[in-house]
């Protein structure tokens, strides 16, 4: 063994030499690279903005923020009904609105004979409302604890409630409600009674579709056509002929939104329902509505207790 072992290395490697300065100098070469990368990135952004704006962007319309969540619209016929009765209806709506911090459209319009009476929304006044609930004058909100946006309009709730694949106009219309509709696709919720679609209580989701739908419904062509039941038949007509409207519509069981005071017209009111509507009271005589409303005066106590 004449060869010596190589000298042993220290088991502790020497520490790295400290950096000369805290920030490493950026070499000019690298600087150039960084510059180029930045330039390329900016170019891409520029291209994206220019091209993107031209090609696929859908129109940016106002999206309702949901404040207030719901606007109740009721059209009052001041000439025909007594002031006491109308005040009571007003009070009913206001109390409900107060409880849920809703907005109520100041109801001042008089019903014009021979015309579909209503423009359920006035987009200009509450552009941020999420839903618009049209409720007929001769109806009372009976259960103050139910909120429209949860009781009816919540997508999961809607999917439970929706009546699918059901003739739009009973009993045998070949046009049926879509069976594959999802809750969040629904923009328009209403009920059916024995005569057909009931336009006395319905909810519309505020937005571009609502404008399209309401303006179509209100089209002068339909108003001049002499539908036997004016706006109700116009509604049945557009729902059956125009799939873009049917595709946003959900039928819910009548008692969710629109229980009747008499069984004659449809399903009658049961304790706990949201609404009772005095069925056909306007046609029966001047005071029928008022006397009929006495039967459901318990809404006052319900509102007090809640």
């Amino acid at each position: 063994m004449h060869f010596a072992y190589p000298p042993r290395k220290s088991s502790n490697p020497p520490p790295f030499r400290p950096r000369t300065s805290a920030i490493p100098t950026i070499r000019s070469r690298r600087l150039k690279t960084i510059g180029l990368v930045c330039l390329a990135f900016l170019t891409l952004v520029w291209l994206f903005q220019r091209g993107g704006s031209r090609r696929h962007a859908p129109p940016a319309y106002h999206k309702p923020s949901g404040n207030p969540p719901v606007v109740i619209v009721t059209v009052f016929n001041e000439g025909k009904y007594g002031k006491g009765y109308l005040d009571m209806v007003k009070e009913n709506r206001l109390k409900y609105a107060e409880k849920h911090v809703l907005r109520l459209r100041p109801p001042r319009r008089t019903r014009l004979v021979g015309q579909p009476p209503r423009r359920p929304t006035r987009h200009d006044h509450v552009p941020d409302a999420a839903y618009i609930w049209y409720l007929d004058q001769n109806a009372f909100i009976m259960n103050p604890n139910l909120k429209i946006e949860e009781h009816v309009m919540k997508p999961s709730r809607l999917e439970e409630l929706m009546i699918k694949d059901h003739p739009v106009v009973p009993p045998d219309s070949i046009i049926k409600t879509f069976s594959h509709l999802k809750g969040h696709d629904v923009d328009f919720v209403l009920t059916q009674d024995k005569d057909g679609l009931s336009s006395s209580s319905f909810v519309v989701k505020n937005g571009e579709w609502a404008k399209f739908f309401i303006e179509t419904w209100f089209d002068p062509i339909y108003r001049s056509y002499n539908f036997q039941k004016a706006e109700q038949h116009a509604l049945e007509h557009i729902v059956q002929w125009h799939p873009t409207i049917l595709a946003k519509l959900a039928l819910v069981p009548q008692r969710i939104l629109n229980s009747y005071s008499k069984e004659k017209g449809g399903q009658d009111y049961k304790e706990g329902d949201l609404v009772v509507r005095l069925y056909a009271c306007g046609e029966a005589g001047e005071d029928t509505c008022e006397t009929e409303s006495q039967r459901f005066a318990q809404w006052k106590t319900a509102f007090q207790n809640s």
Partner: protein
């Protein structure tokens, strides 16, 4: 001495051509190799000999029947897709590499290109990479993908049911279709020729010419990538095929369209709508003013809307419009007074329903729909309406020519005019200069 193609090898295994040995250019090599120097004495180069020389990594000089690619070249290349050159320099640079690889019959060039990335400086590489990135960005974000525009051409109007379809009608159809086909092929659009023959759609009613609505809808369904459809009547002729739709209209949509109908309002429609229940946007004369919200673009002639040439963009708004456009109640009440059917129906919708106005824009008529002097001629020639060849209008629509005017004559004249206006430089040189000189010298008109 240079040879355009390499000579064939002799069965004995050598080159028959003595001249070859002195010239290396067909091989594409720039510097002679040591191995080859011995072959310059005029005797055939033998394969064995070259092997013995032990040349550096340069096996053979044979350019034929050598290697996998040269033997199977034709078979492989004929099955490959072909690409056209119409890109910017970045693409070409890339393409040279690709093409040469496939067409590289001679190994040296192939090898040279193989080693190209190694020999390039880092800076060049970076430049190429950025060039490619830029190109990619351009393709992804900026350029219009093929099939973005679909032209719907209404052919076979009436289908010969109401009127006899004679030679002239066939000729019109042929010319019109060829014109659009060429245009579409040039710019990468799609063409959908629809059959407008008279059909009985429903048991109790004729919906003649209402098919427009149905055809736009079915075309949008058939071409899922299409963003815009452009409806054209049969009696139209694209006069300036060298203008793309992007250049002509869509790159400056905001500047060429007008949303406020008061700018030209032959129907005297009161605009903007003023009903108290409307929101600000509906009351605004120009909608939201953003070209993104435009979904229908049409032009107005002397008597109102004209749907001989119009654009529709895919979207919810369009679905709604196409859905409500035809309505049995409207039809029942108005079919006697609505002479122009779907055109009148659209006017009615535009007047009655503010949501329609929010996404409708108008183009000056002569941008997409110039009339010949025969149409709308009650008040004489109007610079807003009638075709002017000095301005090189984009499209002529011989509207109403089937009522008392000569459709084929107009179509023929405009076709010839379009060819004349779009002559190439060479044709201009021949016809404008040479023929003119010839005419001056000999007094005879000639045609080359």
């Amino acid at each position: 001495m240079s040879l355009s193609r390499s000579p064939s090898p002799v069965p004995g295994g050598g080159w028959a051509s003595p001249g070859l040995t002195n010239n290396l250019s067909p091989s594409g090599r720039s510097s002679p190799t040591k191995a080859y120097a011995g072959g310059s004495n005029g005797t055939p180069v033998m394969w064995e000999r070259q092997k013995n020389m032990g040349g550096p990594a340069y096996q053979s000089f044979s350019t034929q029947n050598q290697g996998f690619f040269s033997r199977h070249m034709r078979r492989i290349s004929s099955s490959l897709p072909r690409f056209r050159h119409e890109n910017t320099h970045g693409a070409e640079r890339e393409k040279i590499g690709v093409e040469s690889r496939w067409s590289g019959l001679n190994m040296p060039r192939l090898g040279r290109i193989r080693s190209l990335p190694g020999r390039m400086s880092r800076r060049t590489k970076m430049l190429i990479v950025f060039g490619l990135l830029f190109l990619l960005g351009y393709i992804i974000f900026y350029s219009t993908p093929p099939g973005f525009f679909v032209i719907i051409l209404a052919a076979n109007v009436g289908g010969g049911v109401m009127e006899w379809k004679g030679a002239r009608e066939w000729a019109i159809e042929r010319d019109s279709i060829r014109n659009k086909k060429k245009y579409v092929a040039k710019w990468g659009y799609d063409l959908e020729i629809v059959d407008m023959s008279t059909k009985k759609r429903y048991a109790h009613e004729w919906r003649e010419s209402w098919e427009k609505v149905d055809f736009v809808r079915s075309t949008l369904r058939k071409y899922p990538k299409a963003e815009w459809v452009w409806w054209l009547d049969l009696n139209t002729f694209i006069m300036e095929p060298s203008k793309s739709l992007q250049d002509h209209i869509f790159d400056h949509l905001e500047d060429v369209t007008y949303r406020d109908i008061n700018e030209y309002n032959p129907l005297n429609i009161s605009h903007p709508p003023a009903d108290p229940y409307l929101d600000e946007l509906s009351k605004s004369p120009i909608g939201d003013g953003n070209p993104n919200s435009i979904h229908l673009m049409l032009s107005q002639d002397c008597s109102g809307f004209n749907l001989g040439s119009f654009f529709m963009r895919r979207g919810t708004w369009t679905d709604h419009l196409l859905d409500v456009w035809w309505d049995p109640v409207a039809y029942e009440q108005k079919h006697m007074e609505w002479e122009h059917k779907e055109q009148d129906a659209l006017e009615q919708l535009y007047i009655a329903q503010p949501w329609i106005r929010k996404s409708t824009a108008f183009l000056p008529q002569r941008m997409i729909n110039s009339f010949p002097t025969g149409a709308c001629s009650e008040k004489g020639t109007d610079t807003r309406i009638h075709y002017d060849q000095k301005d090189r209008d984009f499209l002529v629509n011989m509207a109403g020519c089937e009522w008392g005017r000569d459709c084929w004559g107009e179509m023929y004249n405009f076709r010839e005019l379009s060819y004349y206006l779009n002559r190439s430089l060479w044709e201009r040189f021949k016809e404008d200069l040479l023929c003119w000189i010839w005419f001056k010298i000999t007094g005879k008109k000639v045609k080359f």
